[in-house]
Amino acid sequence: MFPVLKIDDLQTHFFTRTGIAKAIDGVGFHIDKGEIVCVVGESGCGKSMTALSVLRLVPHPGRIVGGEIWLDGQNLMAFSEREMREVRGDRVSMIFQEPMVSLNPAFTIGNQLIEAVRVHRKASRAEAWERSVEMLRRVDLPSPEARMNAYPHELSGGMRQRVMIAEALLLDPVLLLADEPTTALDVTVQAQVLDVMVRAARESGTAVMMITHNLAVVSEIADRVVVMYAGRVVEQGTTEEIFTRPAHPYTQGLLRAIPTLSTAAEDDAPRQPLYEMGGLVPSLTDLPPGCAFCPRCSAAIDLCAAQKPPAFPLGETHAAACWLRRTEG
C-alpha cells in the first residue's frame, strides 16, 4: 500500500533579485489514505508553498529544485504538464485561504463548478449541474439551485468557502489540500465550515493536508501533525504525541502560545503571543548554516549553530529535527 502523498526532501526556491529564497528547504512527510494531516507553523514558513508544490503550481520566480513528490506511488516530478493537469482538480484538489479572491468574480458559481466537472469528466452540462447542486447540498449551502446562478460577490465569506469545498470534493479526489480554509472567515462560521469540510472529506474517503496556524483546530481534527519552521519540518507525529510530548523547542513554544491549551504550559509563565518567542523568523534568503530556529532557541547548544539537525526518530510515528534529541534516537 502506497501512502496517498509522500514528499521527500522537497526543495522549492525563489530566485529573486536579492538572492535565492529557500521557501522549502528539504521537507519530507507523508499522508495515508483518508488521513487528516495538519501542517502548522508561522506564516512564511513554507506551508502554502508545500501545497502549491504538490500541484506543481509554484508561482514565478519560484521553482521546485529538488526532491520527490509521490502520489499513490507515482512520482509527480516525472509527470508532464499535461499529466499534471489531469491530476489537478481530479485526484488532488485545493481550497484557498481567501474565499473573497479565490473564486473568479466574473463567473457564476454554477459556471465555475460545472467547469470543474467537465474539465475532467465526460458529462453533459445538465449532469454537471446536477452533480454540482448535489455537492452544494452536501456542504449545507442553503438553496443550492439559486446559488448556482449567483456571482461570488453575492455570497457571504462562509458561503463562498462552502462553494470552494464543494468544488474541491466534486470529483472525489484522493487528496485535498486545504490552505488555511477558515482563517479569513468570521469566528462564528469558522467551526461550521471546518466541520462541513472534515465531514465531507471523511464521507468521500479523501485524505486532507490541512495548513493552519490554529492549534486549537489541529487538536480537534488532525490525525497527525507536521510542524514547519523556515522551510523545514522540525517535528512530526500523531496529534497526541505533538500535544503531549512536544520534542522540538519550537513546537513547545507554539503550544505555550495558545491560550486554550494548557497541556504544555506547566509553569505559570504568562502566556505570550507567538512573536514574543524572542527574535524573528530568519530571512529565507539568508538562512543560518545550522538549525534555522537556533537564533531564537533558548536551549541551543554550540552544535545547533554549526550543523543542520537531521530528523531524529522518537518513536514509530514521532520525529524531531533537534540536536537535543540526538541521544533519544
Binding site: 503550481l57 484557498f96 485561504q97 479572491v101 473568479n104 466574473a106
Partner: protein
C-alpha cells in the same frame, strides 16, 4: 440595464450643457469682430451686418446662448456661411465616412491589441515580451498621420496595393470601399492598438497574480483556458474603458487622417470649415463629435457591467 442607461443619460445633462456652452463660446474667442473675421474686412459693410444679425451677434451674450441652444434642441445646428446649407445636413452626410473609418480603426486595433497583450503577459519578461513592449512603445510614439504618409508611399505608391487617391464609400461598393479604407484605418488605429495592447498586458499581469487564477490552474484547466477565460474576462473590464477613451483619440485623429488620405468625412469638413472661417459649421461639427464621444463612453460604462458583475447599477 435600460434604467441605468437612462439614469446615466440624465446625469450627463450638466456636462452636456457645459460642452454646448464651451462650443458656443468658441466663436467669442475670435479676436475682434467675429463677423468681420468670417467674411473678411474688405467685404461689403451690409454683408457684415447681415452675418452679424443672422448669427445674433448683435444680441447680449446670454440671449445669444439661449437662442442658439434652443435651436440646437430643435435640431438646428445653424447654416454654413459659405454654402448656406444647414450644418446638420452636411454633418449627417459626412459622418458615415468618419464612422466607418473610426470603427474599422477600432476593430483593427482591438483585433491585434488584445491577442498581443495577452501573449505578452503570458510570456512576460522574456524576449517576446520585450519585443512587444518595444513595438508598442514605438506605436504610441509615432504620429498617426505620418504613418499614413509612409503607408501611402510604401503600399500605395511603391507597391500599388492600395489606391493612393480617390474614394468609394463602403455602402456603395463594399470591397472597393474597404480597399480605400484599409490604409487609413490601419494607420489611424495603430496608436490605439499600442495603447490598448499595453493596457491589456498590464491588466492581465495584474489579474494573473490573483488567487482565482491559481485556483483555475489548480482545477486542472489548460493554461490557455486559464488565460483566455479566467484572466482575460477580468482583465478586459479596464481594457474596455481604455477602448472607450481611445475612441475619442480616433475621432480626433480622423481629422488629420482624412486630410492625409483625402477622405470626405466629418474631420475633413472641420478642417475645410476652419480654412473657410465658417464658424457655425466648425461649432456644429465639434459639438456633434463631442456628443458622439460622450455616448460612446456611456455605452462603454454600461457594457462594463457585463465583464465585471460586481459593478452595481
Amino acid at each position: 440595464m435600460l434604467a441605468y442607461f437612462l439614469k446615466r443619460t440624465v446625469l450627463m445633462v450638466p456636462t452636456l450643457l457645459l460642452v454646448a456652452l464651451m462650443v458656443f463660446l468658441l466663436v467669442h474667442l475670435i479676436p475682434g469682430d467675429p463677423a468681420i473675421v468670417m467674411v473678411g474686412a474688405e467685404a461689403d459693410p451690409a454683408a457684415i451686418e447681415n452675418i452679424r444679425r443672422s448669427l445674433g451677434l448683435d444680441q447680449p451674450l446670454p440671449i445669444q446662448f439661449i437662442d442658439w441652444f434652443g435651436r440646437l434642441l430643435s435640431g438646428d445646428f445653424g447654416k454654413s456661411i459659405t454654402s448656406g446649407i444647414p450644418v446638420l445636413e452636411t454633418i449627417l452626410e459626412r459622418f458615415p465616412t468618419t464612422l466607418v473609418l473610426t470603427t474599422l480603426a477600432m476593430l483593427f486595433s482591438v483585433a491585434i491589441a488584445i491577442p498581443s497583450g495577452v501573449l505578452a503577459a503570458k510570456f512576460r519578461n522574456t524576449g517576446k515580451d520585450y519585443l512587444f513592449m518595444l513595438v508598442s512603445l514605438i506605436g504610441v510614439s509615432v504620429p498617426g498621420f505620418w504613418l499614413g504618409l509612409m503607408g501611402l508611399l510604401v503600399f500605395s505608391v511603391q507597391l500599388g496595393w492600395f489606391p493612393s487617391s480617390g474614394y468609394v464609400p463602403v455602402w456603395q461598393d463594399f470591397w472597393q470601399g474597404l480597399n480605400y479604407m484599409t490604409l487609413p484605418s490601419i494607420t489611424l488605429g495603430f496608436f490605439m492598438a499600442a495603447v490598448v495592447a499595453r493596457m491589456t498586458r498590464s491588466s492581465m499581469l495584474e489579474v494573473m497574480r490573483l488567487e482565482y487564477v491559481t485556483h483555475a490552474r489548480a482545477k486542472g484547466l489548460s493554461e490557455w483556458t486559464v488565460l483566455l477565460k479566467h484572466a482575460l474576462k477580468n482583465a478586459f473590464a479596464p481594457t474596455l474603458t481604455t477602448i472607450g477613451i481611445q475612441y475619442g483619440m480616433l475621432l480626433g485623429g480622423a481629422v488629420v487622417t482624412e486630410t492625409v488620405f483625402g477622405l470626405p468625412g466629418l474631420g475633413r469638413f472641420v478642417v475645410q470649415s476652419i480654412y473657410g472661417r465658417d464658424y457655425p459649421a466648425v461649432q456644429g461639427c465639434i459639438l456633434f463629435i463631442a456628443l458622439v464621444y460622450m455616448f460612446v463612453n456611456l455605452a462603454v460604462d454600461v457594457l462594463y457591467k457585463v465583464f465585471d458583475p460586481r459593478v452595481k447599477f
